[in-house]
Amino acid sequence: MDDNNKGKGEPLDIKAEKVGNYVILRLSGEVDVYTAPQLREQIISQVDKGEYDIVVDLEMVDFLDSTGLGVLVGGLKRVKPHNGSLSLICNQEKILRIFRITGLTKVFPIFSSKEDLQKESG
């Protein structure tokens, strides 16, 4: 009945890290109507800096709903004109399921770990 947000200030935390050609956005917390604007702005600011290959790491995400899906699709639409990509790292069944139900597994490349991503992208 207690909550485990102790010490966490914000419901969503985003850390950006440049790895090779990619920028990885590591999310932790909840992506919903309240926090999704934060993710949208982060993606826009990366694209504005010329980063067109974006990886969103969802491993530490506790919750994601359709607002989050919309923002990810929006991100993909922004990098596409630059021949960029928007990939996901996710190995959590509860999150993957949402992408499966909505058919978005066909839209985003999804890797089960950072290692997997690096193997794939050489």
């Binding site: 919750f63 709903d65 359709s66 919309g70 839209v107």
Partner: protein, 142 residues
């Protein structure tokens, strides 16, 4: 997917301002109640998403209308089910015209109601431009 009639059970009612920051609290109560009813974690995750979608719609459309009227959430718990009703005073909509996933490429919207319908056992929508929208979902404990 069958219609969710109103069930007999214990009622908890919550009234929140139509603002995005309160959706988390609505989910939190749902998961707490579902856990008290011994729902499995996967079922609780389903419920949290469905409720989040309902509240998101209620909040967005209420504030689009310029209204400040609160969103009312009713949790009805019984031996083997949880029902959640989300009610707003927004502009209403025709539920028959939404809720199918569009296949035409990269859309950023329209995932909410299809998600809800695939995650819960019953779905009932009562919507009217005059009175707003009331959607009720039911999830049974397996």
């Amino acid at each position: 997917m069958i219609e969710a009639s109103e069930k007999e059970g214990t009622v908890i009612e919550l009234e929140i301002p139509a603002k995005p920051r309160y959706v988390g609290v609505v989910r939190l109560i749902a998961s707490s109640l579902a856990r008290m009813q011994d729902f499995r974690e996967e079922a609780i995750d389903d419920l949290k998403i469905a409720i989040s979608e309902l509240c998101t719609n209620a909040i967005i459309h209420t504030s689009n209308k310029g209204g400040l009227s609160p969103v009312v959430v009713r949790y009805i718990t019984g031996d083997d089910f949880i029902q959640v009703e989300v009610q707003d005073n927004g502009p209403g909509f025709d539920a028959a015209c939404v809720g199918r996933l569009r296949e035409n490429g990269l859309v950023e919207k329209g995932y909410g109601i299809p998600l809800i319908k695939s995650l819960v056992d019953e779905f009932f929508c009562d919507s009217d431009p005059a009175t707003g929208t009331r959607i009720r979902i039911t999830k049974y404990r397996e």
